[in-house]
């Protein structure tokens, strides 16, 4: 059964290898002549303002939370998607109910302005 995962394992190895090699290739084969100017922080040619540890707005957090909740919904869509053809219209109805309930939640969230940025 694990043989099913060999392509997956290969792809992961390629992905990791590609990332590591590409990120370090210039370091390995390129010449290194550091100077004060080169080592300074580069930010589109502008002089950097503030620290790198900038605080992120709390607004991101609620969006991230709502994302996770809908993410979990997707988890339940997945097994439905692979079997609903075997069970037929009944399964379709069930999924409509499932999503319908969450759609009410979505209406609530939108109407309450939780997704508005200001």
């Amino acid at each position: 059964m694990l043989t099913n995962y060999i392509p997956l394992a290969l792809m992961m190895m390629v992905a990791i290898g590609f990332g590591v090699i590409m990120a370090n290739l210039s370091k390995w084969i390129g010449p290194r002549k550091p100077s004060r100017e080169k080592l300074s922080v580069y930010e589109s040619g502008m002089v950097p303002i503030g620290t790198t540890h900038e605080r992120v707005s709390v607004k991101y957090y609620i969006v991230a939370m709502l994302f996770i909740i809908f993410d979990i919904e997707i988890v339940f869509l997945y097994p439905w998607a692979v079997t609903f053809d075997k069970i037929g219209a009944f399964a379709l109805g069930e999924m409509f109910l499932f999503i319908g309930l969450l759609f009410i939640g979505y209406i609530y969230v939108v109407k309450k302005g939780a997704l508005e940025w200001d």
């Binding site: 609530y108 109407k111 309450k112």
Partner: protein, 481 residues
Amino acid sequence: MNNTDFIAALPLIILAGTGLLILLWDAFEKTPSRAPLILTMAGAIAAAIVAGINMTGPASVAFGGLLYDNAFSNFFTIIFSAATILTALLAERYLLEEEVLVGEFCALILFAASGMVMMASGADMLVIFLGLETMSIAFYVLAGLFRTKTESNEAALKYFLLGAFATGFFLYGIALIYGSLGTMNLVAMSNIHSVTTSGPMLLLGLILLIVGFAFKVAAFPFHQWAPDVYEGAPTVVSGYMSTAGKAAAFSAIVLVFSSMPAGALAGGAAKIQIVIAALAACSMLYGNIVALSQTKIKRMLAYSSTAHAGYLLLGVAALNATGVAAIEIYAAVYLLMQIAAFGIVALLEKETGTGLNLDDYAGLAKRRPWAAFLLAIIMLSLAGIPPFAGFFGKYYLFLAAINAGLTWLAIVGVVSSIIASYFYLRIIVLMYFREPLHADDGIAVKENNISYIAIGLASAALVVLGLMPGLLTDATGYFFK
């Protein structure tokens, strides 16, 4: 899903459906009004009526072994509906005046109620777990309903962190039970004839399950969250959490433990019984003794709720027919007492957070004769003094313990009841025989008829059930038959 399945799940569908309706209403309606509260009550009444009709019908298991539809589950459904109705009545003034989210509050208590119904009627641990989570998440949010108050936020965060931790224990317990019995289904479990070689895994699973439940009912070593949460949460929410939530957890404990296969524990049953009996004894003594020294009424009620969880655990330790009936009776009676007690506290407290000390209740009889009178009835019932319903509830629990051979536990229960009567009666003494400490009236001046109606109804029920305990014992369907 066929007809019988639908009918069995109808109370659940009604409760959750009303919650959805309110949520939709709330999304489109901007001005706060009483409409969600009225809808909540209508939904709860409908659910209770359907459960009442189901109760008289034959017992069955719906959804192919997922949901019980019997006297036990429907009795608890009626209890939860009653708690929801009382909470909605009490919340009317409280919410509209403090301008908090009425629609969300109503939707959440209805979702919590549907979770409780699942806990009381789940025939599969999966359903019980989902019910527990639905209820708990609704409670976490309800505890933090007053978002601008620090205490409310603290209560919500504390409850959430500790509750999530307890859920972990609970889930691990389910996993181990599933691992050792091969099923999560209570019907299938009780069908297992015997376990040829029993190991400690099932025992460990049950103990982890007890830890999870003990947290939810705030029994002794897992009670630390209760005083802070009940104090910080909105008062009506505290009333709802400490009664209906507890009753739901107890119904689920009874369901799980009474479905354990007889031979599965192979001597472990006695160990489990000792564990539960020890929890019960510690909860009763600790809760009542610590409640003696409290100066704030909500904390006092919180510690006494730990003691009441102990009394109910006594029925679980006995786990015979009398014990189950006694748990049903006491859950119903305790719900009336505690919700009404918190209701009076909600009526007297001020927005600024004063009016919550015991001293504020001094001389209450002269200033608010009706509130004092009703609170006196509730306190006498909580103390377990006849002829109020609290006495009979305790009596059946102690009887069940003695029938199960746990006489020592019944004695501990009686002793702790005597300790408890001190602080319950002290409030009556304060109200009737002391002069007010503050000249400027430390308590709120609002008079609210709807709250009085709810508290009056609950108190009247306590008196009626106390004088005619047969009403409840017949409803449980086990006792005296």
